[in-house]
Subunit: 284 residues, 3 copies
């Protein structure tokens, strides 16, 4: 018998969507005073988005980071966003980011890669290691030397992607909404999911299937962090798959930061949480 | 040397037991205004309890869900609650739930199974798939075709259950308090643990040892969610065992929602948290 | 397109460092009333620190526990703290703790071991089992019979430790700051990391490499708890390594408590959270 406890059930359920996990109030706040943020070390961030996304993916988190005094750059790479050409290779994508960085002569920055963006920062780091202060992989692929992205998929997921690819006219893969809903925005409301899906466009397939030579990456001594969100189910969370610890462990010595988000939702609904986690992953 | 930091240690420790994980306050709240809950999509829930429980297991969470406008049904199945007959099979248990649903002509509902209840909703879904909007497994068994519940136990736990079964007069298993305390209500106070244990009665043993034919289940395309609480230690959390990802992965494409509860405690102490997680797992 | 949502980004980011994970406010607090702590069962704690630490590691958490009415003892063992002799064995360390307990005639206490301290409480429990109410392993080694601490390290980490040992004049291992930063205080600010590192001294190497006979430990029926912090990356979190579930599972029936901390930081920055988790792990 589990009796109904009125005092518990009457308790209002508050909105935690806009606030970061682990965001606790202080007595000052309760008594109505304004909370003063502790000064943050000023950093430069270069944020590299993943598949089915473009530079606008970072609009929310970049705004928060800038409000804390950080410099933020969000390169958009070949085959994505405003680029009409979808016939791109992984090397072209890497070149987009390297060119962006060298043209602006950026140095001493924290290079963040999300999802597929993990493979991009692996290759960018091989080409311009001396410009990079730290690599941050946020629920991002850390491929082994010689692997492709789809090599990290369970067999059934890989097969789905091969079918989606085969059904395309221009060698792209469009993520059907039900897959996007379950794998990318599982903690979102349906409305949020639809809003985010509205910006999803077909993804060039080739770079997901290319096997990458990563010998140089694994010889780098660049400091590294892995940021893992424990509601991210874009890949299975274990049993030989997944972001963490399956791929994060490949970084060897690195800093782990964990949050409670999923793969896409928090970039839109809790950018302050995401910005704080990027800061924790990126600071000295 | 780790000096004592007075300002930190004086900080009062607040009660988080009644509030959901991730329940953050809003500025409105701090300034004393009442928080208005965002409107929820109206859903119908059918909640299927697990072993050593009956329909009252859901009293708290059902009340919260109803206060949000949802319809909630909590069928009690053969061998449990008010049923004096403990000599039941898994098929009889499934029939109880199917009969409950068809008698009330329920359709388009979210079918939630907890723990052993996962095996029940697997079989119920095989019989009345068209009535079900979505299956939600909350720290619930997702058995492989041909498996029994005890096939998912580590060897030592299985042996304990076999001994408990052998020592019973009526082929039931009574969970000793120390096991209940450690595996089901590890985050509870002792008082809460005792209160919850007071409603525990011997569990029919047979259905836990029956191997289930689940070929039809694995052919269903019903949407599915897995709700995992990371302090739930009723099964080991890995090394080839456990709710997630070990069994959740069997659902294939599905929605993952994660919370910080354990196996039983939150149904009593944080029903608002549980209701919110059910909503997140069950909504469109 | 992910537009910038002004109302979200303007939301202040609050300090959660001093507050425990899951520390939610109550309506009373919001309206300005003081929160009254629920009475806790009075317990006696004996806290056993790990490597690169001494008894002062516990200053913060001990103060909080005492403020709740608990008795707290923090034995410092051979080769650590004020002991100038670094040439110690695991047996000498165990003897330090056993002697401390028997000299004070402590009984019916909760024995907590952190990190390397897990191996110490395993051996202490073998010698004075009747004095111990419960064993609590907090991100602590639970060695198999015949194992050493370094047997639980990934190959590369073990090699690093062997090199550090070989480079020492007195068979100790000094943890370089970059390793300490990444593995022990990953969630800390750089300032906090440096402050904590200031108290780190070379660790006697021998006890980390000694293989321990633990047959008697595995015959004990002492109640056990495992406290796991999910940002603790001192060991890899899976793939055949780690605190939980890899080593925690060796305890067999035990109580699991999970928090969001890392290996060292919270002892200094959130002692109230740590004290609450120790209480949850240690209470009846």
């Amino acid at each position: 018998m589990f009796p109904y406890l009125q005092e518990i059930n009457k308790f209002p359920y508050h909105d935690y969507r806009v606030m970061p996990h682990g965001c606790y109030y202080s007595p000052a706040l309760v008594s109505g005073e304004r909370y003063r943020l502790p000064a943050q070390q000023r950093l430069t961030f270069v944020l590299v988005h993943g598949s089915w996304a473009d530079a606008h993916f970072w609009d929310g988190v970049a705004a928060v980071l800038r409000s804390h005094g950080h410099a933020v750059y969000t390169p958009e790479y070949a085959g994505h966003g405003i680029d009409p050409n979808k016939d791109v290779t992984h090397a072209m994508i890497t070149k987009s980011v390297v060119d962006f960085i060298t043209k602006l002569n950026l140095c001493n920055f924290v290079l963040v890669g999300h999802s597929f963006g993990g493979t991009v920062i692996q290759k960018v780091a091989e080409q311009i290691p001396d410009r990079i202060k730290r690599l941050v992989f946020w629920d991002a692929f850390v491929l082994k030397d010689g692997e492709s992205v789809v090599d990290e998929f369970p067999a059934q997921m890989r097969k789905s992607f091969e079918l989606l690819r085969a059904g395309s006219m221009d060698d792209t893969i469009m993520l059907p909404f039900p897959l996007f809903r379950d794998f990318f925005v599982n903690t979102a409301t349906l409305e949020e999911a639809k809003q985010m899906y509205a910006s999803v466009t077909p993804e060039p397939a080739k770079p997901l299937f290319e096997k990458l030579n990563l010998k140089a990456f694994y010889a780098l001594s660049t400091p590294k962090s892995y940021l893992y969100f424990y509601q991210d189910n874009a890949l299975p969370q274990g049993e030989g798959f997944g972001w963490h610890p399956h791929m994060s462990i490949r970084l060897g010595q690195s800093r782990l930061i964990v949050g409670d988000g999923d793969h896409f939702t928090d970039s839109r609904t809790r950018p302050a949480m995401l910005a704080q986690k990027f800061y924790e992953a990126g600071r000295d």
